[in-house]
């Protein structure tokens, strides 16, 4: 075991897999010599060579599309979108091809590739550097979408994603890249994609979150605890597929649910979870399954971000409101 933050855990997962499987390559903008703008690929080029870990031209559609080409011809590319907002030029390749090639060819060509995307706000960045686009991918049939919130999960989920025969969007909560540290096994291990994790047991309300919102949720729970509230916290981990069972069981027990996401509200990820709760636990509901999300606005530049970000206090107030409903 070794104490790692998310950046190190993700780096470690790639490092181990690169060593094990020659069909894996890692590429994207500045991932080579530079080791990535967040240093997530640091050292990988030196260790595994510039043919396997390299900088690509500055063109996201090209990055995603060439990766598909590699994936259907025997390789397993791991590509990086430098920031969340820069995946949009690659949307056509992802929505029209990456997600569908297997179905289109009736399974003849599968697409084992991973698209890594540092995502989310809270890092004082320029516009387009703080997006939470997971709902776009969750709504796209043929993809799996994974978001870890801890170093341990990040490593195990990324290894599972790399080994998955299907394309996986692997979104990394950049706000907590270095904030969360944890003991992580040094060897390869997998965490199955599609399983949520109950981070904390409780019986009055179910809080559902993922990524950087987990930390805020935990802080909110600490506040709520002082008022005597018992909160169950689910780390979704997989945006698609969704672990209905874990959600259903929890909400059937608590009767209340609050979904917390950074992404804008309308047609956002929280809506899907609320629908699932309706489908799975309607008769247990003692309050409307609710959401606390980003506004339907652009994420403000740093001086305004405080207005946008979900504070633990706000989440705690949401918890209380529902318990008192």
């Amino acid at each position: 075991m070794k104490v790692m933050n998310l950046v190190q855990a993700i780096n470690d997962a790639m490092d181990l897999k690169l060593a094990e499987d020659k069909s894996i390559v890692v590429y994207g903008e500045d991932v080579g010599v530079e080791g990535g703008v967040f240093r997530v690929t640091e050292g990988l080029q030196q260790k595994h060579g510039a043919e396997r870990v390299f900088d690509s031209p500055l063109a996201e559609s090209g990055i995603a599309g060439t990766a598909l080409g590699m994936a259907i011809s025997g390789m397993k590319p791991i590509i990086e979108m430098q920031f969340d907002g820069f995946v949009y030029p690659a949307m056509n390749q992802i929505l029209s091809h990456v997600s569908r090639f297997r179905n289109r060819t009736r399974g003849k060509f599968s697409v084992p590739m991973v698209i890594r995307i540092p995502y989310g706000g809270g890092i004082n960045a320029l516009e387009h550097h703080s997006e939470s686009p997971e709902a776009y991918f969750g709504h796209t049939p043929g993809l799996k979408v994974v978001i870890p919130s801890t170093p341990y999960d990040a490593k195990g989920l990324l290894i599972a994603a790399i080994e998955d025969p299907d394309p996986v969007i692997f979104m990394e909560p950049k706000r907590i890249y270095r904030a969360v540290k944890q003991e992580v096994p040094e060897e390869l291990y997998r965490i199955p994609i599609g399983k949520a994790k109950i981070l904390q047991q409780g019986d009055q309300i179910t809080l559902i979150a993922y990524g950087a919102m987990i930390r805020e949720a935990q802080r909110a729970i600490a506040i709520a605890k002082q008022k005597g509230y018992s909160v169950e916290l689910i780390d979704l981990r997989s945006i698609w597929p969704i672990d209905r069972e874990t959600i259903a069981q929890s909400v059937r027990k608590t009767g209340r649910a609050l979904v917390v996401t950074e992404a804008p509200q309308s047609y956002g990820p929280a809506a899907e979870l609320i629908s699932i709760i309706n489908e799975e636990a309607f008769l247990s509901l003692e309050a409307p399954p609710s959401r606390l999300t980003g506004f339907d606005t652009v994420i403000p530049l740093p001086l305004g971000e405080k207005h946008y970000n979900l504070s633990p206090e706000r989440i705690a107030a949401g918890i209380e409101r529902l318990i008192k409903y």
Partner: protein, 365 residues
């Protein structure tokens, strides 16, 4: 035989198409000799005739309402047959959607093609065609895949493997055309980009698509050696493609061919070209018909006399009809088929959605 000298002579900047035979099939140079044997030439002619016959029949099947759409290849067959001859078993074919003869050469069956245009993804499974991608509907997006495959071939040490990637003149306007060529060039990927410049993108003429003097010059932007070829001249296309493949597999990186041609048919079976182009234009291009020209050459060279062409066509038609009938007998499209191929393993959520629907169907019964 194309060599570096000829290539320099045909620098795209000079805007002169590489051509070996004239509109009647007579060699432009008295000293020129095809590199193909008479037998090969005759075979090529028959393949071209077969493609044309199959293509015309496909259009008529569609008119009969037996396929939901179909993009005719009429007038562009020389490109496909030449490419088919050059493409090796180990090479990749990354199609757009209008390269019938090239697909057949790769081993795709007509039955599969018909099945696809009848509306069944099973037609894109390509049982026998090795390393052949399905039709790419989003224009130009497939080219980027070709560059990625090219990288993979290099990476995996397949030294004698090339990737043949197709796009239309309209497709050269898309950003993916640019990104694909750039990636392939930067990576020295063994990709042969073939632009079938058939003068139109549905109704939009080339002059509204680009101001460049031709499409081959676009290769300069990536330092990709490029050649403008008379796409209706089977010999010129064969020569150009042979050179391009040699170039690509020698590790020198990608090659770009603009095959200048004309879509003599409609864009698809739901299109009416009289709305946007003149009879004169169509007639002028009919003079350059690739089948006519290859036939002209064969007659001129005394290779064959075409006495039995009628019978050959009749035999082709029978064969094509059989393929079509086989496609019509394809097993029914089942609910399972909607779900089964989305992921390597059917996720619970998809099972749930399928079950819910099956329960409804069960309730209806």
């Amino acid at each position: 035989m194309l060599d570096q000298n000829t290539l320099d002579k045909y620098n795209p900047i000079k805007n002169k198409a590489y051509q070996l035979i004239d509109d009647e099939g007579i060699p432009l140079s008295k000293t020129w000799q095809p590199e193909l044997s008479d037998k090969q030439i005759l075979k090529a002619y028959e393949d071209l005739l077969f493609e044309r016959t199959a293509d015309l029949m496909a259009v008529s099947y569609q008119r009969q309402g037996r396929m939901f759409t179909y993009p005719p290849n009429l007038g562009q067959e020389a490109i496909h047959i030449a490419a088919g001859m050059i493409t090796r078993e180990q090479d990749w074919l990354v199609p757009a959607f209008r390269e019938l003869g090239a697909w057949l050469a790769k081993g795709v069956s007509l039955q599969e093609i018909f099945l696809y245009f009848k509306g069944n993804e099973d037609g894109s499974r390509f049982q026998k065609a090795n390393r052949m991608l399905p039709v790419s509907v989003p224009i130009a997006s497939q080219l980027v895949h070709a560059s990625g495959i090219g990288y993979a071939m290099k990476y995996q040490g397949e030294k004698d493997t090339a990737v043949f990637a197709y796009v239309g003149d309209g497709g050269t306007s898309e950003g993916d055309f640019h990104e694909a060529l750039n990636f392939a060039a930067v990576w020295d990927a063994p990709v042969i980009f073939i632009v079938q410049n058939n003068q139109f993108a549905i109704s939009v003429p080339l002059k509204m698509q680009t101001r460049s003097i031709n499409i081959a010059v676009k290769g300069i932007a990536y330092n990709i050696p490029s050649l403008l070829v008379d796409g209706n001249d089977f010999f010129a296309m064969h020569d150009a493609l042979a050179y391009a493949r040699k170039h690509a597999v020698s590790g020198k990186g990608p090659f770009l061919i603009e095959a200048r041609t004309f879509r003599s048919g409609a864009h698809t079976t739901s299109d009416d070209p009289t709305k946007y182009r003149s009879k004169e234009e169509e007639e002028a291009w009919a003079q350059k018909d690739p089948l006519k020209r290859l036939k002209g050459y064969i007659l001129h060279a005394g290779i064959a006399s075409f006495d039995q062409e009628e019978e050959l066509i009749a035999q082709f038609k029978k064969q094509i009809d059989q393929e079509f009938e086989a496609a019509e007998k394809h097993p029914e499209y089942k609910l399972d088929d909607v779900f089964a191929y989305m992921y390597a393993e059917l996720p619970d959520e998809l099972k749930r959605q399928k079950n819910a629907y099956e329960n409804f169907l069960g309730g209806v019964k």
